[in-house]
């Protein structure tokens, strides 16, 4: 498939035309499958850096004013096609006891904002006042992203000590932590007065979904390096070293992720469809590719890269998921299968078929590896495909008979969720008054009393379907809603879900609902890895590990940074 040729066709048409080549929604949107997803070449972190390299984006540190402990501020300026964007970060230190990944934390060691335009002295003071207030901040449309985070308690001081003494980090001290700073949120899209995402005008360089957030995240990661080197320089003077060799790239940005992702996934079916749809199109492209020595070599290289990365990362399984050691073992198995299938007529299809019979994490690892070979989707096309129209138009003359047919076509899987049984409404979703944090509460312990966040999509659809049984088939939707407005959202969902990959096959309120699965799918789309669950509801991940630093980015930048091996003693 040629990217230019298909540019005029929308995602819906592509997914419809190629339906037989794609994995079925029943497979793709099954919770366990979503919960095994891995980053791909179309993950946001990677499309950002490819575009930045291709278009010659230039980022530089233009201001750093800090004391010996790294308290102060820094400004990073990125020039994109004649426009400037400033990432402004305010840094402080907090007592170790106040360190928490929870969104509700009231103090952060780093708070920052990505601003459309260069920040002058006056505006810097506005940001200095507002940005550290985070959810209580009042920002304006110049601000595109608001973020915050903390230092890695274990490593920040250690890294400063080492560099101050003129030494590089010790391999055995780095363990599985691949970051210096750990973020918890990248707010955007009109929150707290920031610019709405749909307000980015045509031609705006950050108009692709999440591009502003990921530029911000990449610069946040850069700040970690600069802070450590600055503090080490103050302490060590002429003796101090800078990060050298592979250590210059090894650390990414940590992230702690919680339940906020779950409502997003249930509220934006067309976005979910686009994310999964792009991945599935790419997979179908590669499965159909004939083998060439170059393609086989590339697949071997990527598989070897995964093997080395996860082997050197090391570590036991991380329930409910495999850990790095087990993933490395799976990569070894995949490598053996590549060699086995290499001489066959369709090795990529054969590898995929083999993976279908393996455990789900092996399967999704193979999907991720195969997509590295995709030649059918170019980055411009992917950006276009990911920009979706979420508006749903309800024709009030649609009949209840039409709705029944749509239920049969689009939601047969509701029958598998046990929506008439016990446990289907075990939880309800609520927003805490502390920093707008979503949480789950047990219905038997605390009554919703109209405080519930309505992401109980499956339950609402089930209720609508039951109501339809009581009505003649020629009842107009307009009449139905006038009599039973409580079905308003369910009707919108039913009519609007005209795409294959919009619905996780799950009930967010069920007793056995596992938030980690949806979270992982989204994090993989972001380009995060090193999934480390801390409970059923939140996890830590790493982003941009191995990625080029701002000084390294150039036309020669490739995707070779992904899945870096842990540096060795000889690295510097």
């Amino acid at each position: 498939m040629n990217g230019t040729a298909v540019r005029l066709r929308g995602l819906d048409e592509l997914l419809s035309d190629r339906r037989r080549e794609l994995r079925s929604p029943e497979v793709v949107m099954a919770p366990r499958q979503l919960g095994a997803a891995r980053l791909t070449r179309y993950s946001f972190s990677r499309t950002l850096l490819r575009r930045a390299a291709r278009e010659g984006w230039r980022s530089r540190l233009v201001e750093l004013e800090m004391d010996a402990e790294g308290r102060g501020h820094a400004i990073y300026r990125t020039e994109i096609n004649g426009r400037e964007f400033d990432f402004v970060a305010f840094t402080t230190t907090i007592d170790e006891s106040l360190h928490t990944d929870r969104v509700i934390a009231e103090a952060w060691e780093v708070s920052g904002a990505l601003v459309d335009g260069a920040v002058d002295a006056d505006y810097l003071e506005v940001l200095r006042r507002e940005v550290p207030r985070q959810e209580d901040a009042r920002l304006d449309p110049r601000v595109l992203v608001l973020t915050r985070g903390n230092r890695s308690v274990r490593f920040f001081g250690y890294l400063v000590d080492r560099l101050a003494a003129g030494l590089q980090p010790e391999v055995d001290k780095v363990a599985d932590a691949g970051y210096i700073l750990r973020s918890t949120a990248f707010y955007g899209n009109g929150k707290f007065g920031m610019r709405s995402y749909l307000g980015y005008p045509e031609g705006h360089p950050l108009r692709a979904p999440y591009r502003a957030q990921f530029l911000c995240a990449w610069l946040f990661r850069e700040l970690g390096y600069d802070q450590v080197e600055y503090c080490a320089g103050v302490r060590g003077g002429d003796t101090a070293a800078r990060f050298g060799g592979d250590w210059r790239h090894y650390f990414g940005l940590g992230n702690a992720t919680g339940l906020g992702l779950v409502p997003y996934a249930f509220k934006h079916p067309r976005i979910l469809n686009a994310w999964a749809g792009v991945r599935e199109l790419a997979l179908a492209n590669v499965r159909a590719l004939p083998a060439t020595p170059e393609r086989l070599d590339a697949l071997r290289r990527w598989t070897d890269r995964a093997f080395v990365h996860f082997t050197t990362l090391g570590g036991a399984d991380r329930p409910p998921w495999l850990g790095p050691a087990s993933i490395a073992e799976r990569a070894r198995l995949v490598r053996a299968r590549i060699d086995e299938f290499a001489d066959g007529p369709a090795p990529f299809e054969a590898l995929y078929r083999w993976s279908e019979d393996q455990d789900v994490e092996t399967g999704e690892l193979v999907v991720s590896l195969l997509i590295e070979l995709d030649e059918g989707l170019d980055d411009d096309l992917v950006d276009d495909l990911l920009r979706v129209d979420e508006e749903v138009v309800v024709d009030p003359l649609t009949t209840t008979g039409d709705l029944r047919r749509l239920f049969d076509e689009r939601y047969p899987w509701l029958d598998d969720l046990g929506l008439d049984g016990t446990g289907e409404g075990h939880y309800w979703w609520v927003i805490s008054d502390n920093s707008d944090e979503p949480r789950r509460a047990e219905r038997s312990v605390l009554s919703p009393d109209n405080h519930d966040v309505a992401i109980d999509v499956a339950r609402r659809l089930h209720a609508l379907r039951c109501s339809l049984d009581e009505l003649p088939g020629d009842t107009a939707v307009g009449t139905l809603l006038a009599e039973r407005p409580r079905h308003g959202n369910a009707v919108l969902r039913l009519l609007g879900n005209d795409q294959p990959y919009g619905e996780p096959r799950d009930n967010a309120c069920a007793a056995d609902f596992l938030p980690l699965e949806l979270q992982r799918f989204q994090l993989a789309m972001y380009g995060m890895d090193n999934f480390s669950p801390k409970s059923t509801d939140w996890l830590r991940v790493t982003l941009f590990q191995g990625a080029p630093r701002i000084d390294d980015l150039g036309p020669d930048t490739t995707d070779d940074w992904v899945w870096p091996p842990r540096p060795t003693e000889a690295s510097p």
Binding site: K191, G193, G199, P396, H451, A454, A482
Partner: protein, 188 residues
Amino acid sequence: MAVTVSPREVVDEVHRASRALGCDADLADRLAVEVAFCEVHHGGGVAAWAELVATGDGRLAEAALAPFRLADAEVALRTDGSTRLDLDPPVPLAVLARSLWDLERRGVRCTPDPEGCPGTELLSTLELVARDPDPVAGERVAERSQEALNHGVDVDDDLWRLLHDRARAFLVAESVLDAVHAVGEGGI
């Protein structure tokens, strides 16, 4: 004094505040979309919402039903070519602004014409007649929407504070959630 807010904030705050005032999720979602659209294209959306709240007696939830009644009226319109919707008690334009625009896009002329009216304008009767869609009206609305998405929309500071305070009541105290061991940590 005015505060500049994003259209999304109007949606979020009206939804939450309306939930806290007794509207179910379906009504509150619809109402939030209507009021936000009104604020951008007519002005007075939040003011109309606040007046409904001040009236009390369940007026907010009752008024929030108006878009659904309008959809029912459209069924008759599409069959007969015209229809009339009586709204008793009258409702402010703000609770119907988006729905009326959707009707106009589909080629329905509404009397009185909402264009140029503030969101607080009370509507007691709507005469609806089928006609051809007006493409120029679409461009005008698209431009206003883009402007608001790009630069925000100004809302009276006191009204915004009132809305925000009401919206806070939708949230549940962290201490309550901790006491019942509600789960949830982290965020992005």
